[in-house]
Amino acid sequence: MNSCLKINWSGFYSGQFYGDGILRKFPAVISKDHEHHGAFFFSAHMILDEGRHSGPVNMLLDTGASQTIIGEDDLTKLGVDITSLPRSPHPIAGWGGMTESFIIEKPCVILIDEEKKSEAFALDEILCGRNPRHTRTKSGQKHVRTVSIPSVIGRDFLRVHNLIVHIDIRNEDVYLFST
């Protein structure tokens, strides 16, 4: 495989493929630790409730997620009580099971591009996933364990804003591209 032609993928997303529009690169923050094998996230700033609540939110990219989610912990950090939100009829389902979700209308997500310029991405709605509580019995005693729901960028975000995903873990080169 080492003898294979090396492709400059950044060049691939150039004008000839995507017209003459300027492509903006939003780099991910990548972990160098062994345990996470190059885990990455996007450092975002989220604005909720018409600007009444805002703050930084670190978001995983989850191409398996149909919808963008803010986790309950991140919501709390922005000063929003999850019980003040309207309940969604659709629970969130994942490998860890299901949990109830709440609707946040008209949020705005800001990302910073590689030239340190910000771009704001509006969405009609995102969901907030409540942290599920699992009860287990150990040595005859019941323990309740809370599992934190992470904040994730889902496919709705990529689709609505025409974003292209570039992932090259080995070279620590992970970007979202917007045209």
Binding site: L60, K77, A120
Partner: protein, 93 residues
């Protein structure tokens, strides 16, 4: 652009926003890169981290937020709240 997204383009706001984003990301990254260190002291606990320091810990995020409130931490938005698993986990997400 109208609505809350419009304010994102004010340069003054952007500098403040960027500083907070960088601090928040740095805290999360530090937690990821130092999980073994955290595990030796805080296995199976939730921890609140800022500037390479544990500000609070507890059995659930609610407990941790309670501790942060007690300690009157001014801006919790930049604090990383992380679960420290007892064993190395394989994450699906």
């Amino acid at each position: 652009m109208n609505g809350p997204c419009a304010s994102a383009f004010s340069p003054v706001v952007t500098i403040e926003i960027r500083k907070k984003m960088e601090r928040s990301a740095k805290n999360k990254l530090w937690a990821m890169n130092n999980m073994n260190k955290l595990r030796s002291k805080y296995a199976n606990k939730y921890v609140a981290l800022d500037n390479e320091k544990v500000l609070a810990f507890g059995d659930s995020p609610d407990e941790v937020f309670g501790e942060l409130r007690k300690k009157r931490i001014k801006d919790i938005s930049i604090v990383a709240i992380e679960f420290v698993p007892e064993d190395q986990l394989v994450w699906l997400l």
